[in-house]
């Protein structure tokens, strides 16, 4: 009697065990397919030679903001980089123009916003919109590293993006250049920190550590580029210095050193060519192109 009870109990338990075992065996094949596909896509991204330069314009500027810069860079770099432009609408949908030319490993990608107004609230929104565009770019082009350039508020959007949205460990950002970015808005006195600067400093430990940052300031006179105080650009050191691998401050003067002219300033063009673009020697594909 007691033996019978025990056998029934054991039989019930064994049934549960058998069902779970069947379930487990049924999972083997889908699991196999998943890991094969996953490893393949990781290897694809890992092997990718693509290293785009992603640019964000400042407030009131559109996705066409960097057209002249790209033309100048192409001339100086003696090759035609592709130019791809994205606009993120306020509802999060993305419109894009331009294509990646074959064998171009260093395209310029400009991300503009339908709502390109100034202000901290908008910068937070734009960083969110940029993260959507970035997600789409990463999926479409499968790159494993990129370089970042932000003009004016574009640099602030990048800073907010790195602190709050950039969590991918399969993509690294190698370099960031902010051009005339007002880290303390129009406040010239560094002891008066704006809310935005205080927030940037609070979350600075989330910024990727292997990043090299160049902060370029333009000056018309000794303390401003006509719009942004040099002190406000300088405040970027409180965010980046000590957190990233290198933090370099550059001040340019002379022709086209006014805030809005900075992207086509000749010195800045050569700075981008020297510090941001990959040097030609290192990429064998480019020498191949020369042979064609």
């Amino acid at each position: 009697m007691k033996i019978n009870l025990w056998q029934r109990r054991r039989r019930n338990s064994l049934w549960v065990l058998v069902l779970v075992a069947i379930f487990l065996v049924a999972l083997i094949f889908p699991a196999y397919q998943w890991t094969q596909a996953n490893v393949k896509s990781m290897a694809g991204r890992h092997d990718s030679k693509l290293s785009p330069v992603i640019l964000i314009p400042g407030s009131s500027a559109t996705q066409n903001r960097f057209d002249r810069l790209v033309t100048q860079l192409n001339k100086a770099d003696k090759q035609r980089h592709s130019l791809i432009k994205l606009t993120v609408k306020t509802d999060g949908t993305i419109k894009s123009t331009g294509t990646l030319r074959p064998r171009d490993n260093e395209p310029f990608i400009v991300v503009g916003f339908q709502n390109n107004k100034d202000g901290y609230d908008n910068i937070q929104k734009q960083a969110k919109w940029f993260s959507l565009a970035f997600k789409q770019l990463a999926r479409r082009y499968q790159f494993n590293n990129f370089k970042a350039i932000g003009h004016s508020n574009g640099g602030l959007i990048y800073t907010y993006f790195f602190e709050h949205y950039f969590t991918r460990d399969d993509i690294t950002v190698k370099k960031l250049m902010t051009i005339g970015s007002p880290y303390n808005f129009s406040e010239a006195n560094l002891s008066h920190k704006t809310q935005m600067l205080a927030d940037f400093i609070d979350y600075r430990d989330r910024i990727p550590k292997q990043l090299s940052v160049y902060s370029v300031a333009g000056t018309e006179n000794y303390d401003s580029d006509g719009l942004v105080p040099a002190r406000s650009v300088e405040a970027g050191k409180y965010v980046y210095q000590g957190q990233v691998k290198h933090y370099t401050e550059v001040t340019v003067t002379g022709d086209n050193a006014q805030h809005s002219d900075l992207p086509q300033n000749e010195q800045i063009v050569s700075l981008i060519q020297e510090y941001i673009l990959d040097s030609k020697k290192k990429t064998p594909t480019k020498s191949l192109m020369g042979a064609n």
């Binding site: 338990s13 196999y32 890992h46």
Partner: protein
């Protein structure tokens, strides 16, 4: 023939050990602990089911969600995890409070004190100790003392409260019918120990805040985890695994706790090497926490408890064991060990401490040996959250069949390691049952 001899000697050992274990079981201390652990079981069970649903189905990187691409075709997928978040977090994070309640209640009950009030005082005392004092007007509690990590400290706090009730409270006769006046009498009889409990708890809480002891211990744990994650020395890997297993069975959070096993630097190095060379053989760090402990030592969560469940289902005679094993099977399949820890219970159980520590280490050694012989590459590729134990190495080696075979072999060996200890535990339970029957027959009350 040899088999028969082994059986007999095993039986003899069991017969010799049962009285000793029985004596431990019958101490008040152990009884309080065991009842408390079992009080938390239903909460842990519900919490674990919610957690595995949340983790494997409703997290984008979860096991079932990944392999069936759930996030791409299930409608409103983004929002489905919300109810399970709150359910899983609140049931599992309340475990320490329930433990403090239970320990105080059961201790007070043994000495015929008001167990209801003692239990509630225990729970509040825990919250008072975990309270974080700050100038901001928000109530925060120290996460180290609450949740499953705070299990052991909660039981100790509960027992201290129980002792205060024993020393300063008055005996109550619970069986008598309770009128309002009697309830009031009982309340006032408990007022002194309650006040003392709360004062003591506030004092301890303030002292912890003042000296930042908890903060300090949290940081030591973080440091230990950092060392654990960055280690790729084979001796250190085994040592840390043993330490983790010992701490887990004592109800503390070890350095290799499940949720922390992500993104170690050695993992990234290994992955990049494998992706560059299109092969996972010869990676720089073949014997790490990830490639050995996570891949071969955590089937069914910490301590290879999936093996104990299978051992029970195949050969246990105990009704309760079967019930707990059945309910724990599905959570354990997705590496949630909570139900077995609290239901059987394995937690604080001296009998299960040995296989709990030995089985994972043996499995790691087998895995390490196979890697050394180059039968399979070390596991370097990502494995989704909540992947069933026997499939972890298979997925993490990009579908290597030898890895699957070793997974099954490890599980079988673990079942064999657990079997004799399960028989000993069962024999003890049986003896304890006989003992109570005998006491009831003779009319002797303890």
């Amino acid at each position: 023939m040899g088999h028969g001899v082994m059986r007999i000697s095993e039986q003899q050992i069991i017969n010799r050990l049962v009285p000793t274990v029985l004596r431990i079981r019958q101490t008040d201390f152990y009884r309080v602990i065991q009842r408390t652990v079992m009080l938390t079981f239903p909460f842990v069970l519900i919490g674990s089911f919610c957690q595995i649903i949340q983790l494997t189905l409703l997290t984008k990187t979860g096991f079932l969600a990944s392999i069936f691409h759930l996030s791409t075709w299930v409608p409103y997928y983004k929002y489905l995890h919300y109810p399970f978040d709150s359910l899983a977090n609140l049931t599992l994070d309340s475990v320490a409070i329930i433990a403090a309640f239970g320990a105080a209640k059961y201790y007070a009950k043994i000495y015929h004190r008001d167990d209801q009030l003692a239990g509630l005082s225990g729970a509040i005392a825990l919250l008072l100790i975990a309270y974080e004092y700050s100038d901001q007007r928000e109530e925060t509690f120290n996460p180290v003392l609450l949740g499953t990590n705070g299990f052991t400290s909660a039981i100790l706090i509960g027992i201290v409260i129980g002792v205060l009730f024993r020393l300063f409270g008055k005996s109550t006769d619970a069986s008598r019918e309770t009128h309002t006046t009697q309830i009031l009498d009982r309340t006032f009889a408990s007022l002194l120990p309650m006040a003392l409990s709360f004062m003591l708890a506030v004092g301890v809480g303030l002292a912890l805040n003042w000296f930042m002891l908890v903060d300090y211990s949290e940081q030591t744990a973080v440091q230990l985890q950092k060392i654990a994650m960055s280690s790729h020395n084979i001796g250190l890997t085994f040592g840390l695994a043993a330490l983790t297993l010992l701490m887990e069975i004592l109800g503390l959070a070890g350095p290799l706790e499940q949720r922390l096993l992500v993104n170690a630097p050695s993992m990234t190095t290994n992955l990049n090497y494998a992706l560059s060379h299109h092969s996972a053989y010869h990676v720089p760090f073949p014997y790490t926490v990830n490639t050995l402990y996570k891949a071969f030592g955590t089937f069914g969560g910490t301590g290879m408890l999936l093996a104990l469940i299978i051992a029970i289902i195949m050969s246990s005679h105990n009704h309760n064991y079967h019930i707990v094993a059945r309910w724990s099977l599905v959570p354990a399949l997705f590496n949630s060990s909570g139900p077995m820890m609290t239901g059987l219970p394995v937690l604080y159980n001296p009998i299960y401490a040995i296989p709990f520590i030995v089985a994972p280490l043996v499995n790691m050694a087998i895995g390490g040996l196979a890697i050394w012989l180059q039968w399979l590459p070390p596991m370097v590729y990502p494995v989704p959250l909540g992947t069933p134990g026997p499939l972890i190495a298979f997925i993490g080696t990009n579908g290597n069949l030898v890895a699957l075979f070793i997974g099954v072999l490890d599980l079988t060996i673990s079942v064999l390691i657990y079997l004799p200890f399960m028989r000993l535990a069962e024999a003890t339970l049986h003896a304890a049952h006989e003992e109570t029957l005998r006491l009831e027959m003779t009319g002797d009350e303890n």
